[in-house]
């Protein structure tokens, strides 16, 4: 077992301060640092920051649009309610107007009917009066005629009666 300890690294010299090694490594490390900063970490960090900003923006936008949408829906609901109330009012108005008109129409019809009735009655009265007048006129003239005829003829009682009857008959036929 003892011989193996010499085998690999253990045997290799680790002592000694090789300061050239230090300089070489320092040089390489710093060059690596500079190159990676330029070609790897810089772009990476930029991209990540860009994405962070992008996400923040998107969230902001989303919140804003959500608020807008809420506002719009509230407005729409309000408008809908308003429209509904208006419609209700319109229907009620129409109903009221309808019933009022109905009453008016009925009243007008009644009035008209009354008027027609009155007119008809007046007409009838007129006709009646005119008829009576005409009859009276006729009776008067006939009476005069009869009287004159009676006087003219100086008839016998028999004849007179006969004549009167004849004339009455005549009058009756004439009418």
């Amino acid at each position: 077992m003892h011989s193996y300890t010499d085998l690999l690294i253990v045997g290799a010299q680790i002592g000694g301060l090789q300061w050239v090694d230090m300089l070489v490594q320092l040089f390489f490390f710093l060059v690596l640092l500079a190159l990676l900063k330029k070609f790897a970490w810089g772009p990476l960090m930029n991209m990540m920051e860009k994405r962070e900003q992008y996400v923040a923006n998107e969230i902001e936008e989303a919140e804003k649009s959500r608020a807008d949408a809420e506002k719009a829906s509230k407005e729409a609901a309000e408008q809908l309610n308003q429209v509904r109330a208006e419609a209700q009012k319109m229907i009620e108005d129409a109903k009221a107007a309808g019933s009022k008109q109905e009453e008016q129409i009925i009243a007008a019809a009644k009035k008209e009917a009354e008027r027609l009735k009155e007119a008809a009655q007046a007409d009838i009265q007129n006709e009646k009066e005119r008829a009576i007048q005409a009859l009276q006129d006729k009776v008067a003239s006939l009476s005069v005629l009869i009287a004159s005829k009676v006087i003219e003829k100086e008839l016998t009682e028999q004849d007179q009666e006969k004549l009167i009857n004849e004339y009455i008959k005549e009058v009756g036929e004439e009418r």
């Binding site: 077992m1 090789q18 490390f29 990476l44």
Partner: protein
Amino acid sequence: MDHESPIVHDVFGIPGADLNLANLLMTVIVSLIVFVFCVWGSKKLQMKPTGIQNFMEWAVEFVKGIIKDNMDWKTGRLFLPLGLTLIFYILVSNLVGVATVGVVGHDLWWKSPTADPVMTLTLSVMVILLTHYYGIKIRGTKAYLKTFVSPVPLMLPFKIVEEFTNTLTLGLRLFGNIYAGEILLGLLIGLATSSVFGFFGAAIPTLAWMGFKLFIGTIQVYVFVMLTMVYMSHKVSEDH
């Protein structure tokens, strides 16, 4: 069978300038892997993430979470690239040593760069220096110096010592975990290659240990980045 690190002494003729070529190789490889993966992962970015982009964004969120635990995001976002690069770099460093260890001749070439204290201490020193730099830059020199003597001036020596211990523990914690993992893995592989019985005896523990090493590797990445941000917040935040 001694394995050595492929060390080049006196680079460019400068005395004392030693370079471990294995570390150089692994640093380059790990950097390349991390660079290619991350650039590929964030190549086609879209608003609607798919596939690899999800993973990359998850990683960003993860580091963001660590930073937000320690300081406010306004100052913390400055350290996001640092945290992300650290996490990927150390994670890949830890993981390249889990799968395999490569030896050429007597030299150990392929290993976790984080299994070398020099490498981890480099990272921790860099982090601590950055905390001081940003402490001065963000809050001003006066406030920065005041952190050393608050709540009481008696704390000054402890605060100064703390900076060094922070550096050491941050680096050596990572190194110790990964190095110990590689040692045990090395022992198990040595046992497996010794004989037929050894192979069957070591197969299951090796698998188990590899899994555990994977787990340790990721946990240590988290710990390293977390502590980095904790130290950073001590320097840059007002209320600490």
